[in-house]
Amino acid sequence: MPQPAAGATVDDGLDELRAEAMEWGRKPRGLGSLYVTEHMVRAMRAYGWTIIVGALGQPVLYLLGLAVGLAALIDAPIDVGGEQVPYLVFVAPALLMTSAIAVASEEFTYPVMAGFKWRRYFYGFNASPLSSGQIANGVVAGAGARMGVTVVLYFVFIVLFFAWLQPDATRPGTAWMAIFIGLLAGLSFGIPLMAYAASIEDDKGQFALVQRFIFMPMFLFSGTFYPLATLPLWLQWIGWISPLWHATELGRVVTYGQPTPPIMIVVHVVYLLTLAIGGLVIGRRLFEKRLAK
C-alpha cells in the first residue's frame, strides 16, 4: 500500500478523516446486531410464502393427521405421573416445540454456510463497522424472528383446535408461556448448530446427516408421541440429552399442568439455557476466527 509522504499537514488530514470515519462507524457499531437481523429477515422475504404456508400447514396436517388419527386408535387417556390426559392434549405441546426446532434446523444451517462460503455476505458485513460477534447475534435474532412467527401461529391454531375439541383440558392462564418455551427450544437446538455450521469448510452433506441422525431421532425418541418412560431404558437417554424432550416437558407443564417436581422444571430450563448460551459463546468465537481469516 503506498504510504503518503510523512508531513505534518497530511497527518492532520488523516487524523481528521479517521475521526470522521469513527464517528460514522459509531452508530452501526452500536446497533450492529440489529442491522444484521434486518438483513436476515429481509432475505427471508424471498421465500415468505413458503414460511407462512409451512407455518400454517404443518400444524393443521400434523394435528389432524397424526394426533386425531392416532387418538382414534388410542382411546384410553395417556397416563403420565398418575394423571390422565387425553391423547391430543398430550401431543400438542410436543408438536409445537418440534415446529420451532424444525425452523432452527433450516435457518441455522444452509444460510450460515451461504454467509461464509457461497454468497459470502458475512465478509461483506465484516468489512463495515459490524463486528463478528454482532453478525452471529444477528443470525440468531433473524432466525428467532422466523421461529416466533411459526410458534405463534402454531399456538393460535392449537388454542382454536382445543376450543373446538377439548375445551376444559388446557390452562389458559399459563398456556401462553409455551410460545416462549418454543422459542427457547428452537434456540437451544439451533445456536449450537450455527456454531457447527460456522466450522464447516466444505459441504459434504453434513446437514443431511444432521437431519437424519440428530433431528429425526430426536423427534422420534423424545417422548413426542408417547411418554418417554414407555421406551426401554437403552433408548431413553436420547430423550434426556435432546432439547426437544426438555422443552416438551416444560410445554406440558404450562399447557395442561403435567405434574412435575419443581427441581425438574429448573433442570429443563437450565439445560436449554446452557445449550443456547454455550452455543452462542462458541459460535461467536468461531465467527470471529473465520471472519479474521
Binding site: Y47, W49, L73, G205, A208, F213, M216, L220, F225, T230
Partner: protein, 274 residues
Amino acid sequence: MSAATTTDAPTRVGGVRALWAGNPQSVVQRGLIAARSSSWIVVLSGFFEPVFYLASMGIGLGSIIGDVQTSSGVEVSYAAFIAPALLAVSAMNGAIYDSTWNVFFKLNYGKLYEGMLATSLGPLDVALGEILYALLRGLLYATGFMIIMQILGLNLAWTAILAIPAVLLIAFGFASLGMAVTSYMKTFQHMDWINFVLLPMFLFSATLYPISVYPEWIQHIIMAFPLWHGVELVRGLTTGILSPEMWWHVVYFVVMIAIGLVFTTKRLRALFLD
C-alpha cells in the same frame, strides 16, 4: 461419439426412433460412477429413516396401542402393521427425492441432460436411465429394511419376499411422475411444494393407523392417492393376507408408470429437442 451423432441425426424424424436409442444403461452407469465420488454416508443414511420410525413407533406406540386390525379384518401387532407402510413410504420418499431434487439440479445447474441429449441418447433413454438408477438405490434400502423386518419377526408370511418387487413398482411409479413434474420447476422455492403433497399423503394413507378411523367420504379421497395403494399392496404381502383385489393396486401403479413415462419423455423433448 460425435460420429455417432451425425449418423443418427437424420433418422430422428419421428416415432419412437426419435426418442429412444435403446441405451438407458449408459445413463445408469454414469449415475453409478458419479455416486462413487459423492459421500457414501449420505447415501447410506437414507436407509435409517424408516428404521428409526419403526423403532420409535413400533416400540413406543406399539406398547400403548397393542394390536391393530388391517383392512382385511385381521389383527396384527402394531409394529407389523406399520412396518410395511414405512417400507412403502420410504420407497416413495426415495424415488421422489431422486427424481426431483437430483433431477432439478442436473436439469437447471449441472446442465447434464443437454450434454446427454447431444449424444445419440434420446429423451426416453435419459428418463428411463435416471429412473432405473433411482430404483437401484431403492432396491438397496428395501432389501436392508426387509432383513430387519425378518429379524424382528415382522414378516408374517413367505409372500413378504414379493414386497421387494412391489416396492420397486411403487418407486417406479413415483419416480416417473416426479421427474415430469420437476421439469416444470424453475426455482428452489417451488421444490418445497413437493413436501406439501408428500407430507399429508404420508400422514393420512393408512400408514400409522387404519383409514377406518375416517368418515367414508374421506376414505374415498385417500384411496385415490397412490401411496394408499402402495401401503395396502406391501401390507398384504408382508402379512400374507392376500386377496384378488390387490391386483388393482398393481394396475394403479402400472398406469401411473405409463403416464409418467410418456409425460416425462414429452417434457424432456420439449425442453431440449424441439
